[in-house]
Symmetry: C2
Subunit: 381 residues, 2 copies
């Protein structure tokens, strides 16, 4: 009778860095070579999330114990060629935001107070970068990227394209095809006309600008545009005559807007995490064999690591089970979820194979669901 | 020592009818009173789902073992004032669709072959309804609702508004505010101009029409519109001079377009199911007390039912556990997921309360996740 269990000293997943993939290290080197000028990010996060139907503004909603905005910050922070991330939040959320920065160890973030509208908030963010002070975080950048706090899945390849096009053309922005037909309505609520879908695009984020252009556009911006405008590309065109270069982005760029989008974002994050799971077993020959079978059945995209640890529980003894559950509760504080799976070792190969398949099923389900309510349970394969 | 387990004879959730709520029975009566004329639905389901990045067209993707399109059909079928649902599918999916109709017991569905474009498919669906035959399913309707197979969460209240406005005005359609700014692009891929977001809306589904109007519009429709058009409201305007009445719909109307939308749809369905869970316990006094606590801690919105059953397992005996697991496998065929939760009955009230809280936690998690890989497991509260 054997017992598989994760060792608390070896972290099966690094909770601090869920969305970084190994392949991106190579990309980051390429990015550093291509971007030899200072780049900053402005992240307006002042929204109050009234569309969600939730009390918490959506950018602060937790996904797997981490606020959405922290994932977005991380998408930029991990890139060595990005120097500063200016996060603009409503005054009442400033403490919350500073707390997030500290908890999740964000080192490139500067928190700034927002204005009454989106454009005023972005302008506040840009102003912080306008003068060369001694603070390395507020050095005036060549290019500034403007993004949304609620679009966590932005990839380096797109950020590179946006940044280089902004340097070249003065302004650039991500676009997507329209999912619905857009129509103009009469004042009485009837159809006036519909637009031909193929001729239009949805303007998404990120957008990039030469800092001097977008800062000047905001300095010249009318009160009307400040209060009712929604589009930074429009300001660059209107006030500086710069026609932005448009770059088609992937579907994952979408904006977390409704409550259902949180479920979708969670599913994407879980899927990413599940492909980088480690399996930790005992050193015994059967365990290694088992781990091989597991790796095959789990079909994870990246390699399954095998760390070796020796720790066993006598499943017949109640106090051993209790101490296993206590251990699970303790290490949950460090965001490690510990489940036990019991498997009978048998020489009957058919039975063994069935058990291994069930073990893989259960393991896959546990990794996918990451259910904290089930930690410390002893399951049977 | 007690053991809670669901009895296989009493179904804790009815898998056949997950999205119907009790409150809608009253609504349906109101609908029947308001709609005293024949109404049919045309559901184009010919899409091949290339945007999903999945091999299965999205309307056939399973959510909790039931294809997406079956949820959509059900949203109409449960309304007594809707007579026929014409589902238009590509020829290669006809058998699959007939199989779904049979498996999920859809009684109002007529399956029709699709055309090469969306408009041609809808026209095929309308043609089936054009002549008065003896088949009750193809009686010519007064009003026809056109909807998408991939928008399962359409509520009766909106369908009523759409239907009555169509009868009154000739055409009607659901709209939503734009989430992104819409922009026009130059041929070279630069920003030409951006539209003022407040003046435009996204045209969504459902849409309603007097049958005679939309059928005539399709009969007059140009080849260009048949091949490149995307908007039925446009056809009613262009070919019959009918300006559709526009009605703002709820966010849940959105179209399942990308892979992440399947996760969002699953979350919504699970949430609906979780609020109508039953708890089935033994008749013992402690069990009833426990059930009360459970109901409180689970915070389900609808009532938790208590069915009484007598079935116990000796958790120390391996063969009893094996037979519990076998039972779980058997009833899984009927879409019933069986999990065991072991709880020690104790007189120490603090310990008991902790156990009950953990029981509620685990139960809530199991109901929410509905993980088939964990059936037959014996968990400890």
């Amino acid at each position: 009778m054997q017992e598989e269990s994760a060792s608390p000293s070896a972290r099966p997943f690094d909770p601090g860095c869920p969305l970084t993939r190994d392949t991106e290290q190579g990309e980051d080197r390429a990015g550093r070579a291509a971007v030899d000028f200072p780049v900053a990010v402005v992240l307006p996060a002042g929204g109050c999330g009234e569309r969600m139907g939730l009390p918490t503004p959506k950018q602060f909603c937790p996904i797997l114990n981490r606020p959405l905005i922290s994932y977005t910050i991380q998408a930029f922070e991990r890139l060595s060629w990005i120097g500063t991330i200016v996060v603009v939040v409503a005054k009442e959320n400033q403490d919350l935001m500073l707390n997030i920065v500290q908890t999740f160890n964000h080192t490139k973030v500067k928190v700034v107070n927002g204005g009454t509208t989106r454009h005023r908030s972005i302008f506040n963010g840009l102003q912080v970068l306008s003068n060369n002070t001694d603070d390395a975080l507020t050095t005036k950048p060549k290019v500034v990227i403007i993004h949304d706090a609620v679009r966590p899945f932005v990839e380096e390849s797109l950020l590179l394209k946006i940044t280089l096009a902004a340097k070249e053309e003065g302004a650039s922005g991500a676009i997507r095809p329209l999912v619905s037909t857009v129509i103009a309505t009469t004042l009485e609520g009837y159809l006036d006309h519909s637009l031909e879908r193929a001729k239009y695009r949805a303007s998404e984020m990120p957008q990039g600008f030469l800092y001097d252009i977008i800062f000047q556009a905001y300095q010249r911006c009318s009160e009307y545009d400040f209060d009712f405008g929604t589009e930074c590309l429009h300001l660059a065109l209107q006030y500086c005559g710069t026609n932005a270069k448009l770059i088609e982005g992937p579907p994952a760029l979408w904006k977390v807007t409704y409550k259902r989008d949180l479920a979708a974002a969670e599913a994407i994050i879980k899927e990413t995490l599940a492909t980088s799971a480690c399996v930790i077993t005992e050193a015994a020959a059967e365990a290694v064999e088992l781990a091989g079978a597991l790796q095959k059945n789990l079909a994870t995209q990246s390699m399954v690591q095998l760390n070796v640890t020796k720790r066993s529980f006598d499943t017949q003894k109640t106090d051993e089970l209790t101490s296993f559950r206590r251990l699970a509760s303790e290490i949950k504080q460090g965001n490690v979820l510990l489940y036990g799976i019991h498997i009978d070792h048998t020489e009957v190969s058919e039975q063994w194979e069935r058990s291994v398949a069930r073990l893989a099923d259960i393991t896959g389900a546990l990794i996918r669901d990451r259910n904290p309510a089930l930690i410390g349970q002893l399951l049977h394969a």
